[in-house]
Amino acid sequence: MTDSSSSSRRFFEHELEEKLDALLFASPSHRSIERLAALLEPLPRRHQDLVLHWAGVAAQTYAEIGYLIATLAPQALERFGPDSNAAFEAWVIAGLDAYDKQGLRPAMEMLRDIDGFVAIRQGRLYAQFAEVEQRLARFVQGLSGRPLAVKAGAYPWTDTETIFLPARIAQFDAAEDNRQLYKSLAVQLWAQTRYGTFAVDLDAELARWPEREQALTWLAHLEAARLEARVARELPGLGTLLAAVRGSWPAEIGAALAELQAPQATVDVSLRWLAKFMAQGTVPPAPTFCGRLDPGIAARVRAERIARDTETLKKTLAVLKGAAGRKPAAPNEFAAQLNSETGEIEVSVDGEAVALPPDAQAAAQSLQQDLGQVPPEALTPAGDGAWTPVDPETVSAPPELKSDRDADYFYDEWDYHRNAYRRGWCHVYEMPVKPGDGAFVHETRQRHAALIAQLKRKFEAVRGEDRILGRQPEGEEIDLDALVEAVNDRRGGAEPSERLFSRRLRNERSLAAMFMVDMSGSTKGWVNDAEREALVMLCEALEKLGDSYAIYGFSGWTRTRCDIYRIKSFADRYDDAVRARIDGIEAKDYTRMGVAIRHLTRLLAAQPARHKLLVTLSDGRPDDFGDEYRGNYGIEDTRRALQEARQQGIRSYCVTIDRHGQDYLKHMMGPAAYTVLDDVKKLPLKVADIYRRLTV
């Protein structure tokens, strides 16, 4: 790659082949060296030298990267334009850098993103994942109807439960176009999970070709074409977006388009064309606009989800069947079948239709998305052989912590395996909060002064007071002033008013609210700050409203040490001591929710107010040290505790920032009794807002 060589003649294909073979012999793709040589032959000699040099350098680090650099070189040199030498060098170095820091795939993605590299080099406007994350997450939630998270990753792909998108996209000049590409990628990846890209064992299919990366890239293109047509049929607006972002299809795809776009096309069509392309040995275009594939991980996640959903459904059916079995003497008939017209599952017990509970419905819907329909085996209730509940006795009991004093209270806990309570199972200790110095509260009040003032005004409007309305056409009392006036009017010959009554508007707010704050270890940091901010703003606003309220924190470590922290009791006034305790709220251990609800229910039930409300602030599902409380056990116990509260006239509401909250909250809290926040920063404002809405 010296200047003198630029005047030398070009290398011919067979010469290049020899050189490349020597450089790249370790690459698994090296048997297609012939094609690569053909690709490089038309380049001027100085570029050929450049490519050979850097491919060689890269191959010493990792042969496959060297091969990729050589493959992409003609495209890259064309894009880099006049300062191609320097840009090419920088491009290779950046790729190797990515390999050192992030590994092979991110490095290959970085190298493939030639336009992105050019854009960043030219200081063009790019879009960042952080700025589109929230909007895309909500959008995908709307599209998908089942949990599908959005996260930053090295390149755009999905494991079928999370969509990963690059931290930065710089393919287009304008930032808005790059944001559209983000959206387009998210849609494609959602479509992969929705329209059966992973419905066949892709890994097995791809095993036929040693050039796995090439095959994956082809498949990504073919699937992009197939899925775009699918999306366009159901969501024409998105079809337009996808088409606009990709521009025209790579020429090679042209022949396959008609078949891929047919309404009944499945991933098999893509695989058939993939075989053709691979046989021809054509090098795939860079996947600039389409979502990539990682079939191995996706297949595993998908299989796990199918197993989970199937189990949920089977268990639910077993419960429904069991409930019927309790009727004495009646030989119960049980049937669960798929209505082929509506696609809905119809369950009947003794000839009567029974509705599926929401979590089972969600599982059925998810199975339908994965498999096209609910498989028959999912409709057989879990029986003795199919599903054995974990015997709680055989689960290794977690170490029991002893305290230096006796517990203040003991509470029962619901064991759904046994369908019975474990008596006096949880030991509750009322613990003091180590007061903080009040700086956090002070700072929050200052920082959010305007917001607090606004909240106060809103709450003031809610506060009802006894008012007497005079001069009403109807009411409990006679409005003497109005009557006297009317009598005088009549005597004077004028038309008397008919509005002669007064009416009392009573303030019917008799409300006590208990706020239960998650102090588990997972709240450390942002969540804890947001919780404290939320409490400060809530207190400020509630003081205006005059509702009676209390705040308690909870945490713990196994059933023998369930700690409840008093931050503000119903009797406490919102004073410096309370503020110092809010300041002192910190992340502790685990989240055994049931017992905390039972204890706080007891405190709340003792209040004289007519309406009682229990609001839980949490960041995740119930959990405790060891396996015992994790999963369904904790959820069922919490659900039970909330039902007990309900029986005592207490309404519950949960505000959570757990993205996966949708999975279990509907079952645990009831459909109308929770809010999932997608952003912890919204917590302070939302809590006060939700409280207002709940109690208007």
């Binding site: 909007r135 909500r138 509401y653 949708q662 459909p671 109308a672 809405r693 208007v696």
Partner: protein, 273 residues
């Protein structure tokens, strides 16, 4: 006051002349007819805008009875339902409230969103909703037995989130309860097309939009788009508005004030159209 001499004003009630459009979803029509025949009061529950009110209108037409609809609000008192004395010029007159008028006429009285009414209204609702079937008009010292044609129908939305507004067990257990939800996609598309006077394809897309917004329930939205909202959008489209503009106005903006959610809903509208 000797109430016998007081002039009484009773509003005239008429039955519906034309058949209201209603698309049955399950066996609700038969159930309602059976309840009417056995003189049982009916409770309709379901999310807002899923067709409860339209169903009652349809049943009133079908049963050929007048319909009195009262939209309950938090200042609605017993007097508002039963009636009140008015002083007109030199004379005291009694004006029958909607409930009294319905009882006298043997009509269907539909109390929409009953949880919104003040608690004291249960005093008059309870005796009408059980075997007594009578309306006590305290102020006149009158007990009006309900004729066979009279039927009490109330509705509420179980998704309603205020703790202060709950229907009490003592009330709800007097009623035959019919549960309503948004209809399935095909039926809903048919309703949207018929009500809005639009083509089947556009109706289908609107229903798809409804489905997408319902996926966001609990994740930023309190409720997804109701059938009513979809019908509104369809009607705007029928009046010549572009589909996306109509959907943004009738669906997206109607569902939320939150700027982030608004943006997402707009995105969903653009996904569909």
């Amino acid at each position: 006051m000797n109430t016998a001499h007081v002039r009484t004003i009773t509003p005239e009630l008429e039955s519906l002349g034309t058949e209201p459009y209603y698309q049955p979803v399950a066996d609700e029509v038969a159930l309602f007819e059976a309840a009417a025949q056995k003189r049982l009061p009916v409770l309709l529950k379901g999310p807002t805008g899923c067709g409860k009110t339209r169903f009652v209108e349809y049943m009133a037409w079908k049963l050929k009875r007048p319909l009195v609809t009262v939209a309950c609000h938090d200042d609605l008192t017993t007097a508002d339902l039963v009636g009140r004395y008015l002083i007109v010029g030199d004379e005291t007159v009694w004006l029958d409230g909607p409930l009294t008028a319905a009882v006298r006429a043997g009509a269907i009285c539909y109390l929409d969103e009953i949880v919104e009414a003040r608690k004291d209204t249960t005093v008059v609702i309870h005796p009408l909703a059980d075997t007594r079937r009578a309306l006590a008009v305290d102020k006149r010292g009158e007990l009006i037995p309900a004729p066979p044609g009279f039927m009490l129908v109330i509705s509420y939305n179980p998704g309603y989130q205020s703790v202060l507004k709950e229907i009490k067990p003592s009330t709800r257990q007097r009623f035959v309860a019919l549960e309503f939800d948004y209809p399935g996609a095909e039926v809903e598309a048919q309703i949207v097309a018929t009500e809005g006077g639009i083509d089947a394809d556009t109706a289908k897309r609107l229903v798809k939009l409804g489905e997408l917004t319902r996926n966001l329930k609990g994740a930023g939205l309190d409720e997804g788009a109701s059938t009513r909202l979809l019908v509104h959008a369809a009607q705007l489209i029928g009046a010549g508005m572009p589909a996306a503009t109509a959907s943004i106005a009738a669906v997206a903006r109607a569902l939320t004030d939150d700027p982030d959610m608004t943006q997402t809903l707009d995105d969903l509208v653009r996904a569909v159209f």
